[in-house]
Amino acid sequence: MKTSRSYLSTKASQLKPSGIRRFFDLASTMDNVISLGVGEPDFVTPWNVIEASYHSLEQGYTAYTANAGILELRQLIADYLFQSFQVKYKAEEDIIVTVGASQALDLALRAIIDPGDEVIVVEPCFVAYAPTVTLAGGVPVPLETLPENEFKLQPEQIEALVTEKTKALLICSPNNPTGTVLQKEDLNKIAEVVNRHDLIVLSDEIYGELTYDEPYTSFASIRGMKERTLLLSGFSKAFAMTGWRLGYVAGPTELIQAMLKIHQYTIMCASTMAQHGAIEALKNGRQSILEMKKSYQQRRNFVVNSFNEIGLECHRPGGAFYVFPSIKHTGLTSEAFAEQLLQEEKVAVVPGSVFGKGGEGHIRCSYATSLKQLNEAMKRIKRFIERL
């Protein structure tokens, strides 16, 4: 029976569906598709991590954990952040284990945003950023990075967008979908602007382990920035643990404690068995990370060299597992390109337009797929381009 009014909130009804959804629906009806559209590792979680999680279940660790997560895990995260990125956090007060970095972002925004506060979102970016800002009652303000800057955000671009309502800057390095890594000197310049305008930075560092040319610099490690940064990260990408849904946030005590209130009322705690897996990952997972990283690096080289050979201009991204070649000279929109490529050659890529401003004219190709598959995909894309 039809009800006389809609029960949907304005927020929910106005929320746009993700552009990726349509491609997922299209691609999943077809057979023999080679997908370069997957935003997650092709590796299965390292066996020692799976085994540790099994073991915890056998031991009967099936109850809730502390709201902020198992203390041992938080301690290991603190040690890891200190050893890898030289940022010091207190395990007891400054870290929350979350359901993926996505929940960490949601918590952060809910904790800092008052209605109408503006958040500068550096685009192209992960599809959830702007909607999550909106859901928290904020206003996402897109900052468009440009291919001529290798998609690096320029400090003066922040200046141009700052208003008295600007509260936060949301960055992601290495970036999804461009793979761009902000180096220490880039971050230093951003830090100056952030300081001047008294902003807080939400730094999504989920791909931080996956950099191939230069050592990674965390935004929180920039002088004076730890107090202004919420460092969002997790186990999904580096440890190939996407399905475990386990992330964390580290930051200034006051902010983390406010986020913990929201976390305890909305989520209670992250999955216990996943947390036990993560403990093993941090204790004994380094070698697995290095092996996977090596493999990604080789695939990146292969894919970048192949795209440039085919004639789709592609900058060499320093991290994550995406390349973002330009398809502008084909005259097609990124959506038309992706759709035709899928229909004609059964290769799934994601149109750049779904990642916000500056994405149009590009396609995102994930190289988290075997070299064999990548080789076949490149052959098909070459055939497709030659026919255009």
Binding site: S18, I20, F23, F24, A27, S28, V33, S35, G37, V38, G39, E40, D42, F126, V127, A128, N176, K294, Q298, R299, N301, F302, N305, S306, E309, A348, V350, L371, K372, N375
Partner: protein, 189 residues
């Protein structure tokens, strides 16, 4: 038939500097090259070149160099004979205790064993026995005959213990009958 291709080479040749064989100095790129070829001995040269970010000519030069130094001993298929009707055969691993010979240690007796074509591998072991011999035959009785008539009758051999392989799960890093379906959803953010 399930057939994968692999590469036969010896890391030992690269790093051992105590043996009498020629040992080569290698660069990281040679290690990466060997790694790729060990996983797929049939990887096309242009693909290797793009993956390692070097020219095809350099790939060829480095492979030739590795071959000349016997760091690459050959390129072969990893055959899963159990998938081929009537060709499964029988494999066994034999623990062999021997008396080493003065002056040449275990090398001489090892050679007398590895010269037999049915012997697929021979290793000198630490622990309860000395040589581990891996052997392939058509039938169990064929292997039985080899052990009783050829191996046990060698002067230095004190005893043998034969273990027949019932099922291969993993061999040289390759999982037999793998479940390699991609379990990820086809497009994700």
């Amino acid at each position: 038939m399930s057939l994968e291709l692999g590469l036969i080479f010896t890391w030992f040749d690269l790093f051992d500097n105590s043996g009498k064989g020629r040992v080569m100095k290698v660069e990281q790129i040679d290690i990466d090259l060997l790694d790729l070829l060990e996983k797929n001995g049939r990887m096309p040269l242009d693909m290797i070149a793009k993956t390692l970010d070097i020219s095809i000519e350099e790939v060829e030069k480095r492979m030739e160099n590795l071959e000349n130094h016997h760091a690459i001993l050959g390129y072969s298929a990893i055959a899963n004979w159990s998938k081929v009707l009537d060709y499964e055969g029988v494999n066994a691993m034999i623990d062999v205790k021997v008396t080493p010979t003065r002056g040449v240690g275990f090398d001489k007796i090892a050679e007398r064993i590895y010269r037999f074509p049915e012997v697929k591998a021979v290793y000198l072991m630490s622990g309860a026995y000395d040589l581990s011999v891996s052997i392939q035959g058509k039938t169990m009785s064929e292997i039985g005959l080899f052990v009783s008539e050829k191996l046990s009758t060698l002067d230095s051999v004190i005893s043998t213990t034969t273990h027949f392989i019932l099922k291969k799960y993993k061999h040289d890093g390759v999982i037999f009958n793998p479940d390699d379906d991609d379990k990820r959803i086809v497009v994700s953010p």
